[in-house]
Amino acid sequence: MDRDQLRSLPTWIPRPDGWEKARGRMRYLTDLHHPGMLIGGVLRSDYPHARIRHIDTSRALQIPGVRAVLTWRDVPGLNRYGIVIQDQPVFCEDRVRYVGDVIAAVAADSHSSLEQALAAIQVVYEPLPVVSQPEEALRRTSVKLHPTGNLLHRRTFSRGDVKQGFAASAVVVEAVYETPRQMHTYMETEGGLCIPEPDGSLTLYAPTQHGYGDRAQLARILGWPEERIRIVSSPIGGSFGGKDELNVQPYLALLALSTGMPVKIHQSRAESVRSGLKRHPMRIWMRTGASRDGRILAHDVRIVADTGAYATLGPAVLDFAVEHATGPYVIDHVRVRGYSVHTNCGVAGEFRGFGGNQVTFALEGQMDRLADALGMDPLEVRRRNFRATSDRGPLGQTIAPTEGADEVLAFVERKRAEVQSRHAPSSASAYHRRGVGIAVTMHGGGLGLRRPDHTGGRVRLTRHGKIELAFGFEECGQGVIAAIPLLAAEVLDCAVEDVEVVLGDTSRVPRSGSSTASRATGMVWHTLKRIRPDWESKMLSIAARVAERRESDLRLGPGGVHERNAGRLVASYSDIAAAAGDDLPEVEIASHFPVTPDTWAQDGAHYLYSFAGVVAEVDVDLLTAEVRVTGLHQGVWAGRVVNPMGYVGQIEGGGVMGLGFALMEDALMEEGRYVTRNLDTYLIPTALDVPEMELDAIIPKMEDDHGPRGVGEIGTVAVAPAIAAAIHDATGVWITALPVRQDVLLAEMAKRGETLWRWMPSDASKEWTSWGRERIASSSS
């Protein structure tokens, strides 16, 4: 289904929060004010790596208007956080490991007092050597950032014997690929408001991808039972993985608790850059061998991920990259070795695509190099190695059968032919060259085997006759808030208007896991399917009393319960609510994301996958090596479309994020300090960079039992390799490092003899040369 077909679906409805967001009127949590609230802020490290010799807060405390200055001594519970491994200090005691590390927090009556106090805190540092390169960090002689050393996590996978595979290969291609430290660049920087309640509890309004997750982490830090903390976490001004981990919530809570007053913190963009998570930069070596007919025989991979100072989800990101190192290709001899390594370069963590984007750039680059070495069409090489519908997954595990790979390849073939036929040799300028590139990918959804991938939800009838659906995951801008009523209408047979959605408040929602790993939409569907029988039975039983009919003659429908055969409405949801009195129907379930039945498989192995095929068109300015993406077309196989507008938004938005990753985004660091400290130098695509984008939402011919797959990530994953391939098509230069640097590209083109003198219009150049000669001749005669 293309965009026009998606638009014509009856489910193409404006998202409930769309209008307010588009007009800039949405009140985010960081827009909240509370009478008498204090302004909070934190003091971050002056050094990427140092020992702390002394902290003196006495001068800061004397500044008028300052209500609290906290350090590690003021943490009642665990002075550490981290979703899986609690290794990140809330406040550093004796050592800082990155420039975002926090030493103290201040609450004051005004911004001015806050700034003075932060400046007055005296910290004596003893700078330590900065570990800025992961390869250097792995050396035995390197300074150790943690007691366990600098290797956070190692993950390997092997099958067959790569030596044997290479020995049998007719061609072998080898390259090292490097990917950037991409920033999530959510619109709303980190912050929130914390209010101490009269009953001794805390209410924290702060955006996150997992309210219950934050609650558990804060409870650990405060040494409190979780129930004493209420987290209100939606709406969120973007996250993309970046707000999955805690950021300023501990300081909000500790300051509010210490002062007994509401405290607000809202980070500036500069502070967000300095402290926030980034995408793992990875250095990926790949060696791939194939037979003369294009069958891949061996694939050897080494991944080194720069995870920065602390763990957060670094291990899981590496696991994901290792799993996806073979993508949708069936290869007999495989060896993948992955290392996630601590450095003093910020903190890398969860980010849309979760390690898949990096490894797909490398893998698809290998496919293009193989095709080149074999003199084959890049599409054909892919086809010859593609998985079949019932093949096992990349780690040998059973996965839900899927024809996604073939479907997206068919899209790529069709779209590439269409694009190439449009590409008549450009007459616009002699100094521009166009290129077309392709890439495909396969991307796991959910957290994977043996991960705590819980889900669940609650449906209840409100007193006013609305069907209230409550889930514990968040609306981070992805549009699940629009998908939920559509799924409810489909599964519970009600109307979209009958539904009220409750998200983002631990006092009002059940546990559903986090908004992550492309799982929310699928989880709503699964949950509602499981809720349906009980819900129907409860509703029909009350409706039967109201309408004086037999339950078996009734069914759920829009607006209320209807006669099963005649279809007439016999009891509206309001009637049912009135009849139910205090005993309003309610069904709550807890569940788990589907996982592979192969319990022997590696941790994190996935069961459900989505697929994307990308065709990218570029225009390269030969004089400057500026690359403009002129077309970015994606065929996506992710089960059926629930919320068409949300689907289009995710794929197009993801595509633009992928374009940024390919061409401009990189949080550059030198010796552990950010060079790109704000959005004037850290560039993301603007509307002017957005190309023409076409989308084909490929709907499975037969729907399986697993429902829609979620499209939060898939639109970002294969964009960069397609752009890199298009640049190669235009210039002959193989791209190995992202983002593509113009200076590197221009120099590489020059090495290939591609200079101004070659590009001067061939006709014009001759004419001009003869014109020049004639002029010279005429002037000398």
Partner: protein, 279 residues
């Protein structure tokens, strides 16, 4: 720290204010550049002498005797909107759109861009623009090029107006900002060039200026002299390409090498000269 804002009502008062406050103060028009620097963590002056209330200064560009007078309050957006500019200064119109983004251009001024050595300066250098500045109780007029050379010595001088001669129809212009995305970005390099030749193909005048980013904007006099009075021939184009690279003063930074900036300017200017003379 919040800056202290001063609102003088005359050039003389503004200048006196600056003289008194010294290096802790700076003149401020749209404040876009200062805010950008502050947001990036740079230290900016704490005393802002705002020019908004200065009387006798117009908010729109004015054409006087084939010269465009752009006062210190005129925003880039006003220049872009001006029908006179669109008609007689089409390349100024083009370069104003190099700067920032639409909302920012409603605030940012031409004079501010000049003082901050922004993307307009290469154009102002090749167009032969001059400026008026208030210093020591008097108005001085200098060429932009001369002002750039001596500005360090007259740091209290307040630039009150830029005067830009009309773009002549027989002069070909070339303007280009090279960056890392399509717009709203710092330049890797910004280039302006103009070319005049006679009917027989002899180059009367080539002007080339380089700026943008943290370049000190400058013309390339040796390059200009190389081709003056010459006819175009392949060896001359090669020499032009080479000399641009050797004469231009540029820098390495985290985003591009100096070598890249040199080659790009050489490529663009050489291609411009070749194409201008071809057709």
């Amino acid at each position: 720290m919040e800056p202290r804002v001063w609102l003088p009502t005359s050039l003389a008062e503004a200048w006196a204010c600056k003289r008194t406050l010294g290096d802790s103060a700076c003149y401020v028009a749209g404040s876009t550049w200062l805010q950008l620097r502050a947001a990036s963590g740079d230290t900016v002056p704490s005393e802002w002498i705002c020019v908004d209330e200065i009387a006798d200064e117009r908010d729109v560009p004015v054409e006087v005797d084939s010269t465009l007078h752009v006062g210190l309050r005129v925003t880039l957006a006003e220049v872009i909107r001006s029908s006179a500019v669109r008609r007689h200064w089409p390349h100024l119109h083009q370069v104003c759109r190099f700067v920032g983004a639409p909302a920012l251009r409603e605030q940012a001024t031409v004079v501010g861009n000049l003082v901050a050595q922004g993307d307009l300066v290469p154009y102002l250098l090749v167009s032969g623009a001059s400026l008026l500045s208030w210093n020591e109780g008097a108005i001085e007029e200098k060429s932009v090029s001369e002002w750039l050379t001596f500005r360090g010595a007259t740091s209290d001088a307040l630039v009150s107006r830029v005067k830009i001669p009309k773009e002549l129809e027989h002069v070909r212009f070339f303007m280009r900002k090279v960056g890392r995305r399509a717009g709203f970005q710092p330049a890797l390099v910004t280039i302006a060039a103009s070319l005049e030749n006679d009917d027989s193909g002899v180059i009367d005048d080539l002007r080339v200026a380089v700026g943008g980013g943290v370049h000190w904007p400058h013309r390339l006099p040796q390059v200009e002299a190389l081709v003056r009075g010459e006819r175009l021939r392949p060896s001359l184009l090669r020499e032009l390409h080479r000399m641009i690279q050797s004469e231009m003063r540029t820098y390495d930074d985290a985003f591009a090498t100096a070598e890249y900036r040199r080659v790009v300017v050489a490529n663009l200017v050489t291609a411009f000269v070749a194409s201008a003379l071809e057709g």
